[in-house]
């Protein structure tokens, strides 16, 4: 057997070994076995890194346990395909999985169900690894579904009643996505006669098919398939309105969040990337993804600001970030979405694991909140403000120059890229605006921080992201075609650019006025709307109440079926 195959199998099977080590044995040795379990997981990570190097240099690794011609006779067409995308994802998952497991060994020590929990965490890592290495659409779906169930199982905390409801909701909403995903697979097989990725992409590109799902409504076969599969991605990546499973699941133990927010929830972004050639054939689906992502990002961020619980705040932050990731996919920037999910995964895993420590510490040392501190003296530094303002204004020019002149990205032909660059402008402006709030430091330090922010943003967004795109999608023409497919209608494109510019300038104006002690007059009706919106977002758009109402309606309907005339069952 080739060394690359052995490596690939090691990456997948070592977590399974760790799971077995944890589960099998006497209870009094469980801590030692749990500690020993780190070893296979760390080895899996090392193997994943080596696999990435091998795949990058020698090409994809394929393992298949069935004959493609007899696919209809196979109950489970088991196969693995590890290309650059899979290899990058396996490095991320095995790395974060190992860290989270190591953390859990101590964090969950002496908790009831210690072994079960650790075994489930490792098994989930195994399923995640298999999912990103799936060789065909059916196997991807198989692992995808198992993930839904495992997540619901992990979300249970036997000693906490709220997790009961949270877990149930998690499973039912994830299954909603699973069903749509299945419908997508069946339609894809029905239209193109295959479930193999490469064949599917080739046939979909070669034979355009028109469908009429409703009278007067026409769509291409690729659009129908990708839209259905996209719903599957929406549920796993907590996109509006299928996001409401995420907040209640936050009652689960902290390591579960770390794994969820760093790995599982990225599944939607991975799914779109895995099927990128198919998504590239459908502008409609990409536009839908853009809208869904944008709405989720806005609502997620808005709800995050209104929450008063650290885990819920982080949860809604994740929803917002996932919206951002899906929006990137909708812009045709598939590789950037992967870049984003990696960065977000690493960041959120760290934050959640720290969050667990903070909560533990708060429980161990309950102290009253510190007395209110005197209002800080407001400093106004002309240098800070001038630097920030100029940086914000110059940034688009610098970004455009770097992108167009140095990296030779075809900006004029890629609306998606321009919008993406505008978002990078928003992000960096937000960072600079935040820096202006820093009190008690000399203004030159803040100015330097602003310059560094600018450099960081430029490096990250342009150089690193561009290199990553080249690594994941070496075919430049394909990348250009994705951007082309994602192009928005001209008026919408112009409106987005104009709105973004206006918001940034207004933001600067508002903050400048506040820092100078000037009152910004806000009309009463705006204040009223502000209060209403705050209530709306604090109550998470009342979607939980809507969900509860729906549950009651189903039960009523079912009871109605039971009792017919004169109280006799139907």
């Amino acid at each position: 057997m080739e060394i690359s195959l052995v490596l690939a199998m090691l990456v997948l099977l070592l977590p399974l070994l760790a799971s077995t080590i944890v589960l099998v044995g006497k209870p009094d040795t469980q801590y030692d076995r749990a500690t020993l379990g780190v070893l296979p997981l760390a080895s899996a990570f090392v193997a994943a890194v080596v696999t990435l190097v091998v795949v990058a240099s020698q090409g994809p690794i394929g393992i298949r346990f069935y004959e493609p011609s007899s696919i209809a006779r196979s109950a489970l067409p088991l196969s693995f395909h590890i290309d650059r995308l899979s290899a990058v994802m396996t490095v991320l998952i095995s790395g974060i999985g190992a860290i989270i497991y190591r953390y859990s060994v101590k964090y969950m020590y002496q908790e009831p169900g210690y072994r079960r929990f650790l075994a489930l965490i490792v098994f989930t890592t195994f399923v995640l690894l298999c999912m990103v290495s799936s060789g065909n659409l059916v196997m991807l779906f198989v692992w995808w579904q198992l993930l839904s169930y495992l997540l619901a199982l992990l979300a249970h905390n036997l000693s906490h009643a709220a997790t009961f409801e949270g877990s149930f909701r998690t499973f039912t909403f994830l299954r909603l996505g699973d069903v749509a995903f299945l419908a997508g697979i069946v339609l894809a097989h029905s239209l193109y006669g295959t479930i193999e990725f490469d064949e599917l992409f080739a046939r979909a590109a070669a034979t355009p098919i028109a469908l009429s799902p409703l009278p007067g409504v026409e769509m291409s076969g690729a659009t129908a398939v990708t839209l259905l599969i996209f719903i599957g991605g929406m549920s796993k990546s907590a996109q509006f309105p299928l996001h409401i499973w995420l907040p209640p699941s936050l009652y689960a133990p902290t390591p579960v969040h770390a794994l969820l927010h760093a790995g599982i929830i990225n599944a939607g972004g991975f799914l779109i990337n895995r099927l990128a050639p198919l998504y590239g054939l459908s502008s409609t689906t990409l536009h839908v993804a853009f809208v869904v992502g944008a709405v989720t990002a806005l609502l997620g961020a808005a709800m995050m600001l209104a929450q008063n619980d650290i885990k819920k705040t982080l949860g809604f932050s994740t929803i917002g970030q996932m919206g951002y990731m899906i929006m990137e996919c909708g812009l045709g920037a598939f590789a950037l979405a992967v870049f984003h999910l990696i960065a977000h995964g690493l960041f959120k895993a760290t934050v959640f694991l720290n969050c667990g420590n903070v909560i533990h510490k708060a429980r161990e040392e309950p102290v009253l909140p510190p007395a209110a501190q005197a209002t800080e003296e407001r400093h106004f530094s002309r240098l800070t403000w001038s630097t920030g303002f100029i940086m914000s204004l110059l940034m688009p020019l610098i970004i455009l120059f770097m992108a167009h002149g140095v990296l030779q990205i075809p900006i004029l032909n890629a609306q998606g890229m321009v919008i993406f660059l505008f978002f990078s402008w928003v992000t960096s402006s937000q960072a600079i605006l935040t820096l202006t709030r820093i009190r008690g430091v000399a203004s030159w330090k803040v100015s330097v921080a602003m310059l560094l922010t600018l450099l960081f943003v430029m490096f990250t967004y342009l150089f690193a992201a561009e290199s990553f795109t080249k690594f994941l999608y070496p075919d430049r023409e394909a990348v250009a075609s994705y951007f082309q497919a994602a192009a928005l209608p001209r008026p919408l494109f112009d409106a987005l650019v104009a709105t973004t510019t206006l918001l940034i300038i207004l933001g600067w104006f508002y903050l400048y006025s506040q820092s100078r002690g000037q009152t910004v007059r806000i009309p009463a009706w705006v204040e009223k709307i502000h209060i209403h919106l705050y209530l709306l977002f604090l109550n998470r758009l009342y979607l939980d109440a809507l969900y509860a109402w729906f549950g009651r309606a189903v039960t009523r309907l079912a009871s109605g079926l039971t009792i017919s005339s004169r109280g006799r069952p139907l």
């Binding site: 489970l76 059916v138 299954r175 909603l176 069903v179 299945l182 029905s190």
Partner: protein
């Protein structure tokens, strides 16, 4: 000769069992030995190629003694269960007769199966109330269907037989006999009938299918779609686990009806799906009967938090629920996906209803398992975990379900589809 033996061995076993009915331990061993012997005979005959020439015959024939074996194995040796065990053997023999013989003998066996179940309903009518009376009515209709089917000719015969099949492989509005059998009969009988009735009904359905007029097939396909919706909603209003699972079966078997009627084919994938649904339903009934043996016929809401005091039971029920609601790697998922990816299936808007039934199962079956296993633990019940025979019986069900899920479809038999004309199911709204 083989067919006679298949009927005679369980019948003989029942006769011997009658002699030792006062000794539960001995009777249990006797029943288990008879089922093993029957299974052995089926396997031997299957290997030598002397089984009846029906598609997937070996799978369906072997399934019945397997079901009889694991449902009896999971029961405690108690005097009150002796009668259900003897009836299990009797039903096993009759069920094998349905599968092993061609019409008209198979119809006689089907009639006898329905008659025996009807007698059991009659016996249980006072204890169970209205549900069972509906069951008696439905089963009487099924028996009448068999009689008309055997005596009349032409389309009337095939329609009557289809109605008889609908009482066994449940199809709304003829589903009440199935629901009553699974909800109210004593001992292991619900778990065994959860396999026997659908298998017998399916065998009858594929036999009668070529003779059914097209209009009747289309009408029955619409009934099947309605049955999916009905069977998916009903579990939400049930307070007993047995009824939840029974109505879940109604919804899933309606998928089999719809598929076979709409595509005019019965690929081996439908056998896998039907068999897996029957096994999963049986397994869940068996698990519920184990709880009933400990706590009595308790309402669902009153029994929570079993994960910690009954870890083995919890794992088994979790896996059974996964299997029943259609998750991999079990047969319900593989069969379902196999049916949808089979060449005989063409995309249509009706898929939405099928997927709804599949989705709803995730809701009520997950709720059922979650309610039993998690939530507030109730120390006042002092539950004991599964004993070895109980664990073994549930393990057998799980192994069978996993085998159905991972083995290639060819292993379970050949397609029935070649016998019939294949027609395009695609709705006119979906055109390539």
């Amino acid at each position: 000769m083989t067919a006679i033996l298949l009927v005679a061995i369980p019948a003989f076993g029942a006769g011997v069992g009658l002699l030792i009915r006062g000794k539960p331990h001995a009777l249990k061993v006797c029943v288990l030995l008879v089922t093993i012997g029957t299974l052995g005979l089926i396997v031997m005959e299957g290997a030598s190629g002397t089984l009846p020439e029906k598609p997937a015959a070996l799978t369906l024939l072997a399934l019945l003694p397997f079901a009889a074996f694991f449902t009896v194995l999971g029961q405690p040796a108690h005097r009150s269960l002796c009668a259900p065990w003897l009836l299990t053997l009797l039903l096993l023999g009759l069920g094998l007769g349905v599968l092993a013989y061609e019409a008209p003998l198979s119809l006689i066996f089907l009639f006898l199966v329905l008659a025996l179940v009807g007698l059991l309903f009659f016996h249980a009518r006072r204890r169970a109330g209205l549900d069972v009376r509906w069951g008696i009515g439905t089963i009487a209709l099924g028996m009448l269907g068999v009689v008309i089917g055997a005596t009349a000719g032409g389309p009337v015969s095939s329609i009557a037989l289809a109605i008889a099949c609908a009482t066994a492989l449940p199809l709304v509005p003829f589903h009440k006999s199935y629901v009553a059998a699974l909800s109210w009969l004593p001992g292991n009988l619900p778990a065994f009938l959860a396999v026997l009735l659908p298998v017998a009904g399916y065998d009858g359905l594929v036999t009668v299918l070529p003779q059914l007029p097209e209009q009747v097939q289309d009408a029955a396909a619409i009934l099947a779609l309605m049955g999916m919706v009905y069977g998916s909603f009903k579990p939400f209003a049930q307070s007993r686990a047995a009824s939840v699972v029974a109505y879940g079966g109604v919804a899933f078997f309606a998928i089999v009806w719809w598929y076979v009627l709409a595509s005019r084919t019965a690929p081996v994938q439908t056998v896998v799906f039907m068999t897996a649904v029957a096994l999963a339903t049986s397994g869940l009934h068996l698990a519920w009967s184990m709880l009933r043996a400990r706590f009595g016929d308790i309402a669902l809401r009153a029994l929570t938090g079993l994960a910690q005091p009954m870890p083995h039971f919890s794992i088994a029920v979790s896996l059974l629920a996964i299997a029943a609601l259609g998750l991999p790697p079990f047969g319900v998922f593989s069969g379902f996906l196999g049916m949808l990816l089979a060449p005989s299936f063409a995309w249509s808007g009706r898929l939405a209803i099928i997927l709804f039934a599949w989705l709803a199962a995730s809701w009520y079956l997950f709720g059922l398992a979650q309610g039993l296993l998690f939530g507030r633990s109730r120390p006042e019940y002092r539950p004991g975990d599964l004993r070895l025979p109980e664990l073994a019986s549930l393990t057998i069900v799980l192994v069978l379900l996993a085998a159905l899920g991972v083995m290639p479809f060819d292993f379970f038999g050949s397609d029935l589809g070649t016998q019939y004309q294949t027609v395009e199911m695609g709705s006119p709204l979906w055109n390539k």
